[in-house]
């Protein structure tokens, strides 16, 4: 029973991991069995909190263009680091690796955002480094 109690307590403590990081349950919203790799051009970036939404025009093998909504992180920290909606311009070519929404529409969580030159989005642009001081006085 004591072991059980400890396990339950561990779960309770994990539940304490904040909503800040767990704003919504990714795996409940998106499907691990539906990995997607989308190559397209940025059509729009909604910098809305707590989750950005990128709109991507993705051209299929048949030449047909489909719009996808890709979820990404909170823009607050990016703005503080100097990344704005003008940093990644409309028309930028992106490859997004992620998982499609369980509801089956053209929505996905963007696991990796990869620019044309192979770098991953924002990290290189923001200049963020461990201990990052860009927002200190």
């Amino acid at each position: 029973m004591r072991k059980l109690a400890i396990v339950i307590t561990c779960f309770a403590l994990l539940a304490a991991v904040p909503a800040a990081l767990a704003h919504h349950a990714f795996a409940q919203e998106f499907d691990v069995n539906k990995p997607v790799t989308l190559k397209g051009t940025m059509k729009k970036w909604d910098m809305i909190n707590p989750h950005s939404w990128f709109y991507l025009d993705v051209k299929g093998s048949d030449g047909k263009v489909t719009e996808w909504m890709i979820e990404g992180g909170s823009p607050n920290t990016l703005i503080r680091l100097g990344v704005t909606k003008y940093t990644v311009e409309v028309g930028t070519e992106l490859t997004v690796e992620g998982y499609q929404a369980k509801e089956g529409t053209n929505k996905a969580v963007g696991r990796n955002f990869i620019l044309k030159d192979g770098t991953r989005l924002f990290l290189s642009l923001s200049g963020a480094v461990p201990g990052g001081a860009p927002d200190t006085k």
């Binding site: 396990v7 904040p18 800040a20 990081l21 409940q28 919203e29 998106f30 989750h51 461990p130 990052g132």
Partner: protein, 390 residues
């Protein structure tokens, strides 16, 4: 970047692993330190004497409590304080942990990459807290025994606790759903046993909006409730003061604490605000705030298992231009055999606070409910297919 081990672990293993101290500092050699260095790593500055027009200490400005400091000290840690060099090494190690990629095709991989979005803790200013735990009393830096616990079973073997989940919390799973869907994702919460659904992060299900955690519903965030623990991202606060009142605007989930400083009595116990009922007063240079009457759904799964008897006393003391010492005492005789205390610094950052307009961007609720309906449909179809033909 190449470690692809986290997501391959099961939810329980992760839960236990995390709780057992993934986030806690590694054992350090050396004797216990007894000196009391400043909480922040910066050099001592001129003592703060600033006052507001009202004549009370001026706490105003923009602040962060961003830190890797665990609530509880690792049982193997022998020191109360790191040296600056040790802290730098510890922060570097934790930053590397946060940058690790999860394994594609696993539940833990279903999230966006925090590092890419500059959301990892290391990418915002850290407070430089040299303490090896937030808890200062009991002196071992760990939670006291729980009421009714077996002798020797004192505090649960947990390193983190509420709000300190940035690095270690990733990859945990455990939400209930019809087809074994799980919370997943870095920093996701697991479901504790018991308690009302839809609380502060625990025991949520996704069948209807009322059962989804109040954090996901943009009602509340764990870092907003006294104790104000560091959130995983957007750890920014603004303090403003007026005659007889202190306001704390909390960026993460855009919550506001309005604290009267006239030491007025608490509201009747039947009044249970999401953030509890706070009343404050000044003791010399220190703002003292006492909070009781926590909402039951705030307590559910979010506050180390505290009861409705929870009382938190916070003490804000501005040390210098750059820092506030934030101390807290947690008193809950139904839960712990003794009160426990902790401390962390808040350090200055540049403003402004950016609006965290959670509802406006909260497509997640509709998506998760839609996903649940899809799973129900599939489960019903599977059940129908499994029935023997008549």
């Amino acid at each position: 970047m190449n470690c692809r081990c986290l997501a391959s672990l099961g939810a329980l293993a992760l839960a236990v692993g995390v709780a057992a101290g993934l986030m806690a500092p590694q054992p350090m050699a050396g004797q216990a330190q007894t000196a009391q260095p400043r909480a922040a790593a910066s050099a001592p500055a001129k003592p703060w004497t600033g006052k507001t027009p009202e004549g009370v200490p001026d706490l105003q400005g923009y602040w962060t409590n961003n830190s890797y400091t665990p609530l509880q000290r690792d049982p193997n840690m022998t020191k109360e304080f790191f040296t600056k060099e040790e802290l730098a090494a510890d922060e570097k190690r934790r930053a590397a942990q946060q940058e690790e990629q999860t394994t594609p095709g696993t539940t833990g991989d279903v999230h966006y990459d925090f590092t890419q979005f500059s959301l990892d803790r290391s990418q915002t200013r850290l407070t430089g807290n040299l303490r090896t735990s937030m808890i200062t009393d009991p002196p071992n830096g760990r939670l006291p025994a729980r009421v009714g616990a077996d002798a020797g079973a004192a505090a649960p073997a947990a390193g983190g606790g509420r709000g300190a989940g940035g690095a270690g919390g990733r990859g945990a799973a455990g939400a209930a759903a019809p087809a074994a869907a799980a919370g997943g994702g870095r920093g996701q919460a697991a479901a504790p046993a018991g308690g009302a659904r839809g609380g502060g992060g625990g025991n949520a299900t996704y069948d209807q909006v009322q059962n989804i955690s109040i954090g996901s519903r943009c009602i509340w965030s764990a870092n907003t409730v006294p104790i104000m623990m560091p959130p995983g991202y957007n750890p920014a606060y603004q303090i403003a003061q007026g005659p007889g009142v202190v306001m704390i605007l909390i960026e993460n989930q855009h919550e506001v604490r309005v604290i009267p400083t006239d030491n007025r009595p608490h509201a009747p116990s039947g009044v249970k605000p999401w953030l509890g009922d706070s009343t404050g007063h000044w003791e010399g240079n220190t703002l003292v705030v006492e909070t009781v009457n926590y909402n039951p759904r705030t307590l559910t799964g979010t506050f180390q298992g505290a009861s409705d008897q929870l009382k938190v006393t916070e003490r804000f003391t501005r040390i210098d231009e750059d820092s506030i010492r934030y101390e807290f005492t947690v008193d809950d005789p139904k839960t712990w055999v003794q009160p426990w205390k902790g401390e962390m610094p808040f350090v200055k950052i540049n403003g402004p606070i950016f609006e965290h307009a959670c509802h406006e961007g909260n497509y997640g609720i509709a998506n998760t409910l839609n996903a649940y309906r899809q799973e129900e449909k599939k489960a019903a179809e599977a059940a129908k297919a499994a029935q023997p033909a008549k």
